[in-house]
Amino acid sequence: MSDEPVGQVPASASKEPRDGLDALTEEVLPALIARLRASRLGELEVRTDGWRIRLRRDGTATLPRSASGSPAADGAGDPVDLIGSVARAPAVGYFMPLPDLVVGHSVQLGDLLGSIDVLGIVQDVTAPSDGIISRVLAEDGQAVEYGQPLAGIDPLEAEFEADDTATGSEAEVVDR
């Protein structure tokens, strides 16, 4: 699992509108989220194969709390940036993520993301909000402290609309 931004935005070549939507949500969207996160842009729009996707940061998202004092955060500062919500360790122990805790996976408030093993008893790690996993901050089996950030969740607004004017097959990033 990586929280590194994806360098290339893959373009969908599908002709079928339905397949095109699937390809968008499964391939294009995660990559776009990563690119948006890596950038300083507030909004990002892509046109491809008759679809236009616009991603916008949610400026009203709550700021994550400081995680100072944590072994992971010491010296390097808080690894979580200022947008989105953060799933945190509910206890001190070993982190065991679920297999689908990967960047780009869409989650809803309360969804199980993994667990913390505390002396053999597991405590659930759940999504604190709806959104898309933007970062995974701890590895499988890693020792984590109480409150340690485990995953970032972007409350992105994704707008899908058919775009009759878009004809090119190359993705185009528009800075607004």
Partner: protein, 459 residues
């Protein structure tokens, strides 16, 4: 051998343990709650680990959180400090089950001395006089009233699991007893997770004198003299000193020797304190054993030069004490003032908030044990203890003179503290004469003391 210790406590004692570990070449990891991420111990530590939210029950009092933290941070021992899990036999047992060393008595020793009522029977069997009291735990109100009739009023209701004066009440009549039982039960349950209570006869005009002992796992032990903790407010110790000004040298030696003999015979191990009440005739009555490092341990360190926390770690690791009573030399007089975040003008209400400015005192024989720093935000969730000012001098009078100087220098700005109270008590004739009992403050009243604060108090 212990190589890496998890410090499962907060405040000044976490700082004290961290220093002891460092002086012994032992690594330390400071466990802390979310409310203590900016604590001095966390800032000083090479490593720290958050174990839970501010609420003690889910952090400092959570055995699972503390042990899990020790395991994931690679520690081989846990120092529980005082309060919290320090005298919890179940926690000590769980610590051992995870191949960690509990820095304190073994689980068996803690279990044996866990019940204060049981401990009374154990030491009485060794010939130590105990304060008359109820036999066993109080089952219910009816049992309490019956036992009270047998022992006689006035009485002290005490939690069996307790310490620090929490859950303790005095009752002069059956009516007072019934009212107090409910309060004591809920206080004891909140503070110690155990609401068993017992009764002790209230002895008028007594002093609180305790003996510090060090005993290794092989039954070799020494005492390090006594401490007089008679300056109390509502059963909370405020000032402690050694030697006790109330007992003569013959009684002093007899008390300390009886304490170490009985503690060894009863199977006690590690550091501990035997508490006694001493009456006007110098007769002493055992009350309880504190199976932990105590807040006031520096008083004894100043007289003996022994690092009690380091000795505690060494003994928990299974080392031999390595010296006998003749090697323990006590010199001079030491006195400790507990500096609390309390508003003395508002019935000692606990205070919290930003310490804008902190300046410790200095000079010959002056020691400050604290977690304070300028800019520290005192969280509202815990004990009000901010630190301890400990003074050593060749004799009591010189110690009082140094204390006045140090208490004028000590500056804590931004929140109210009980420093004015300590300055006042140093002007009190009864205190200075040494002829006071545990009721000194409650009888005279805080206001009367405070009115005696010298007016030229600007440092």
């Amino acid at each position: 051998m212990i190589e890496r210790v998890l410090i499962a406590n907060r405040g000044e004692i976490a700082v004290r343990i961290l220093r002891a570990c460092r002086s012994m070449g032992i690594e330390a990891v400071v466990a802390h709650s979310e409310a203590d991420t900016e604590s001095r111990a966390v800032r000083m530590a090479d490593e720290s680990i958050c174990i839970g939210p501010a609420e003690s029950a889910r952090s400092y009092l959570s055995a699972a959180a503390v042990i899990s933290a020790a395991l994931v941070s690679g520690c081989d021992a846990i120092h529980p400090g005082y309060g919290f899990l320090s005298e919890d036999g179940g926690f000590a047992e769980m610590t051992r089950a995870h191949d960690l060393t509990f820095i304190g008595p073994s689980p068996e020793v803690l279990e044996r001395f866990a019940s204060k009522a049981g401990t009374r029977e154990l030491v009485a069997a060794q010939g130590l006089p105990v304060v008359p009291g109820s036999v066993g735990m109080l089952r219910d109100d009816a049992h309490a009233l019956a036992e009270a009739e047998r022992v006689g009023y006035p009485l002290l209701i005490k939690p069996s699991a307790g310490g620090g004066g929490k859950g303790m009440r005095m009752a002069r009549t059956p009516r007072e007893l019934q009212q107090a039982l409910t309060v004591c039960r809920s206080e004891a349950r909140a503070a110690f997770g155990d609401d068993s209570l017992y009764l002790e006869k209230w002895l008028e005009q007594t002093r609180h004198v305790e003996v510090q002992v060090l005993i290794d796992k092989y039954g070799q032990g020494v005492h390090i003299g006594e401490r007089d903790c008679s300056v109390q407010r509502r059963h909370q110790k405020l000032v402690e000193e050694s030697p006790s000004p109330a007992i003569d040298d013959a009684t002093r030696v007899e008390l300390a020797e009886a304490a170490i003999r009985v503690a060894v015979a009863a199977g006690y191990q590690n550091v501990g304190t035997l508490e006694f009440l001493v009456d006007g005739e110098g007769r002493y009555f055992f009350i309880e054993i504190n199976a932990r490092i105590q807040v006031e341990h520096p008083v004894t360190e100043m007289l003996s030069g022994i690092d009690i926390v380091a000795e505690q770690i060494r003994l928990a690791a299974g080392e031999k004490l390595g010296y006998g009573q003749e090697a323990v030399r006590l010199r001079g007089h030491a006195i400790e003032f507990r500096i609390n975040a309390e508003d003395v003008k508002a019935d000692f209400q606990p205070q919290a908030g930003l310490v804008e400015h902190y300046v410790p005192p200095g000079g010959a024989g002056i020691r400050m044990e604290t977690h304070l720093y300028s800019g520290y935000d005192v969280p509202p969730y815990y004990d009000s203890l901010l630190g301890k000012l400990i003074i050593w001098a060749p004799d009591r009078e010189a110690a009082m003179a140094r204390s006045r100087v140090a208490l004028r220098e000590l500056l804590v700005e931004g929140i109210e503290t009980n420093i004015p109270f300590h300055r006042a008590i140093l002007e009190d004739e009864t205190f200075l004469s040494g002829g006071f009992d545990t009721n000194l403050l409650d009888r005279k009243g805080a206001a009367a003391f405070l009115s005696a604060v010298p007016t030229d108090e600007q440092a």
